[in-house]
Symmetry: C2
Subunit: 436 residues, 2 copies
């Protein structure tokens, strides 16, 4: 009852119908007027006073607070980012496919079942339940070899990688090898933490380990299961050479394992981390596996980095809400992630096929390269084309595509968040933009 | 073929990569994943079940047998932190008071109502809806003067303050003034970001502005509404002198506004930020207002810092999950935070009174100083006592208390997360520890 009254008064004040300084009837008068008990009015006045909508002094009448004016309407915090109907964003999963009801069920169970202590600050490393459940998942599905004490829960790839870069910088590291072409976020995050990103060439077999050795870097960040943007898998010989390099040079490999469960032809290659847990720090994320909005991920740390990483995560914060961690624990334990990924695999496979077919029809000169996996395709273009100009021309037609920084004309086309008809129409628009 | 698969599965179970109780994919799913016939998988599962590695019931999923002795049993990720029945932790709100059902209602509304795009990475600064709602709240309740474009959503105090310190460090800042006595987290986070914390004395009026000026620092982090740990409010003259200092020296004040709504004698003093939005960066958090587990907070940035802070938050991640932001928006709009804080104010007031009464009875020589506010009391002890030794002796009796780093014997006693009987028993134990 008093909530209804509060709501009504709040709306009147916000909308300006009750002006600042306006005097309210006494609680007795208003109660009589509305035919409700006086206690209800007193309660509503007290709440709105606490909220700052009303002011009342000893014996003085209750008034609308001077500052509670709606004179300054809330300025919308608009985003400059345009919304394009055909957004071939490579980093998005199918947002419509997010299993809302299942996630809600897990959240509800977490919220109802959590002991009081779970509402406290919690363990910086993540709840032990989630670390155990995630460890089992990554062992089972990714062939990783996580240890409970060296599995850390973070806020997604950038969060974990940034913390790692800061720790390495504090230890005197100055440079980090990155793939070229590679994901710009690797370079930006490393540079943000004070490390110089050193590009090492990637060819059809993946990163050139000779080039890596020649770079003199002690740390390299890689996407071995599905190189971004070329879409290739690190070749078995390269994989072996890479681990040998790490062993010989006493180096560290940062494995960005962003989409490995999404492979449409065969099982994904196992995680590098599983082969050399003390040489490989895997940083993973739920962004592409579930939804970027969750902002959750993990770090499988080599034992010698765990302490420093935990300290850095504790100091700099940003680890996920404990309730979300509890929900994820339940989600994993129920097999919901496996179920979701199975559903997405079949959906993305079809979308990829639609993309390949649309390209074959509208842009026969374009070549789709790389393995059928993940949420994007690497599409090489004719030599005379300028991908930057194409991206601009496409944008004017409502199509968002990204030029691939590949040393030759190519685009990265994400398809996971577009339906098949949208892919077809989007590629048709893109083709028109290229011809124009 | 099935022998190969059996072998692989067996190895995974033996090595512990597949943990006891871990759920295996269905034979159909694994067959599809591996591109082999389902019969092969069924055969392999049957063999391993016969061998005792797997268990499966009618219709139930196949799992790794509980007794499938991994050579290396899963190490429980235990915490070394002992649980003490009487934990006078100053940083905890009443965890049992967290409004679970209301929060769940908001989460449900957020999850059901969110557009698809809300499941994407979202705006680094936080959703515009939350920024607007929070801005209205802080203006109304805290007298802050936030602007929508300079209100940023972060992952709690440490997250926001760490990002701010990194930005300042990148701009060449080397030192930051901190209160002495003060909150150790200010010093640790600043040092973690490469800034030298410079202690400036705090007396009964709050920070000594003369000392601050003499320090030569250009940035100071302060708790003006309720100094930690002394429990005092910054005196009006000091407040004026502080803002004058900031103006004269072209300096920045970081306002740690951690508990200002929790005042039990009168309305809290308004936020410093409201007086000088371009000189004060307010970093706030829901930890004490709602629950540390939420890991949510905000930064009211001076306009000249917003761009750099947004970039840093984007690069280093750790901003809260978008769904949690949507839930908080709804929670604020329904007036739930105000309602919760009203309830907590009356509860904490009683608990504080119980603490004061218990101290008067069991430790009459102890003095409670500071204003009746927040979640802790500053308790000064007789000069001959050693607070460190008292804390150790109390810990053995199941009582956790923190020595105050105040230059004289004192304790910081948090009371918000303890019931009144627990407070009485805890203080009785503490008194026995002191006498012993």
């Amino acid at each position: 009852m008093h909530e209804q009254l509060e709501q009504a008064l709040r709306e009147h004040i916000r909308s300006g119908r009750l002006m600042p300084e306006a005097r309210l009837p006494s609680s007795r008068a208003l109660a009589a007027q509305l035919g409700i008990s006086r206690g209800v009015v007193v309660e509503a006045y007290a709440q709105l006073t606490a909220e700052g909508y009303l002011v009342s002094g000893q014996g003085a009448p209750t008034r609308v607070a001077p500052a509670a004016s709606a004179e300054r309407p809330p300025v919308p915090a608009t985003s400059l980012e345009p919304r394009r109907p055909y957004d071939f964003a490579p980093e998005l999963p199918d947002l419509a496919g997010f299993p809302r009801e299942q996630w809600l069920r897990c959240l509800r169970a977490a919220l109802r079942g959590a002991p009081f202590a779970a509402l406290g600050p919690g363990d910086t490393r993540g709840t032990s339940e989630l670390r155990n459940e995630l460890m089992a998942y990554l062992g089972r599905v990714r062939g990783a070899a996580p240890e409970p004490e060296h599995t850390l829960i973070g806020g997604g790839f950038a969060h974990g990688f940034a913390a790692l870069c800061r720790v390495l910088r504090q230890r005197g590291l100055e440079r980090v090898a990155v793939e070229s072409p590679g994901w710009h976020v690797h370079r930006l995050v490393a540079a943000g933490a004070g490390l110089e990103p050193v590009p090492v060439p990637v060819d059809e077999q993946g990163i050139q380990v000779d080039g890596l050795a020649a770079s003199g870097c002690e740390v390299a960040v890689l996407t071995p299961a599905h190189q971004y943007p070329t879409g290739r898998v690190l070749a078995p010989e390269r994989r072996a050479a890479l681990l040998e390099w790490a062993e010989d040079e006493d180096a560290l490999i940062v494995e960005d394992d962003y989409d490995s469960e999404l492979r449409y032809d065969r099982m994904a290659v196992g995680a590098l981390q599983g082969l050399a847990p003390e040489r490989v720090c895997q940083v993973g994320s739920l962004s592409l596996r579930l939804a970027p909005a969750l902002r959750m991920g993990w770090i499988l740390s080599p034992s010698w980095l765990t302490g420093a990483l935990t300290y850095e995560l504790g100091l700099s914060g940003g680890t996920p809400a404990v309730l979300d961690q509890l929900a994820l624990t339940d989600f994993l334990a129920r097999g919901e992630l496996d179920r979701h990924l199975r559903r997405m695999r079949s959906r993305y496979r079809s979308r990829r096929q639609a993309l390949v077919a649309a390209l074959a029809q509208c842009l026969p000169e374009a070549q789709v390269e790389g393995i059928p996996a993940g949420a994007f395709a690497f599409v090489s273009l004719e030599n005379r084309l300028d991908p930057g100009a194409i991206a601009s021309a496409a944008a004017e037609r409502g199509v968002a595509v990204q030029p691939a920084e590949a040393g030759r004309p190519a685009l990265v086309l994400g398809y996971a968040n577009l339906t098949e008809p949208a892919i077809e129409r989007g590629i048709a628009c893109l083709a028109r933009a290229i011809r124009a």
